[in-house]
């Protein structure tokens, strides 16, 4: 079963705009991770936020986590054509398992 559900399923923006993707999850987690997947490639880890953190930044990425609402968001600022990819959230529970959502497909138009 999928842990996270991303919203929207697909997003198309102009280069230079910001892209926001949301993730809702079902069970308790101790961390939430975001991954990027380019077409035909494997997933690449972007950022990890722990359950006791509310916000985290990495370059042009900003992630928020609201454990009371079981939701997270990923903001990509000043998007570039190279950001075109699918983005997945994955919730990590207290053991070892990561459960991935169904992803948001982002298209950044030049």
């Amino acid at each position: 079963s999928q842990q996270g559900e991303e919203d929207p399923q697909a997003l198309s923006i102009q280069e230079g705009e910001n892209a926001t993707m949301n993730c809702s999850y079902k069970t308790s987690i101790n961390n939430l991770q975001w991954y990027r997947q380019n077409s035909g490639r494997g997933l690449v880890h972007l950022i990890l936020i722990r359950s006791n953190e509310r916000e985290k930044h990495s370059g042009r990425l900003r992630v928020t986590l609201d454990t009371s609402k079981k939701s997270s968001s990923l903001l990509i600022t000043a998007s570039r054509a190279a950001d075109t990819a699918s983005y997945f959230c994955a919730g990590g529970d207290s053991s070892y398992k990561l459960i991935f959502g169904s992803g948001t497909r982002l298209l950044v138009r030049p």
Binding site: Q2, G4, N30, N31, Q33, Y35, G40, R41, G42, L43, V44, H45, L48, R50, F88, A90, G92, D93, S94, S95, Y96, K97, L98, I99, F100, G101, S102, G103
Partner: protein, 115 residues
């Protein structure tokens, strides 16, 4: 550092045939994962190894899928016999330790098509 290596990149077989995928994780990574990713969905964990022992194979269809990691390094995933529903990308990933708060490093996968 070298990434996770997978082969082959593509495989086309007919239903009821058998197929095998190979994965070599990042050197020093104790934990190896096999995921199935159906088109338009996120990866679903099939099996997780810690060194050469199985940690979780609860979602592995054991009547047709098998996996091994004999020397605690590289791994093979086999499907026998294949069904149409097995068409997917099979991703291998590795991490230093098998805890959820570590990033996983993925290979580029094997795209399997069943005719």
């Amino acid at each position: 550092e070298a990434g996770v290596a997978q082969s082959p990149r593509y495989k086309i077989i007919e239903k009821r045939q058998s197929v095998a995928f190979w994965c070599n994780p990042i050197s020093g990574h104790a934990t190896l994962y096999w995921y199935q990713q159906i088109l338009g969905q996120g990866p679903k964990l099939l099996i997780q190894f810690q060194n050469n022992g199985v940690v979780d194979d609860s979602q592995l269809p054991k009547d047709r899928f098998s996996a091994e990691r004999l020397k605690g390094v590289d791994s093979t995933l086999k499907i026998q016999p294949a069904k149409l529903e097995d068409s997917a990308v099979y991703l291998c990933a590795s991490s230093l330790e098998g805890v959820s708060n570590q990033p996983q490093h993925f290979g580029d996968g094997t795209r399997l098509s069943i005719l």
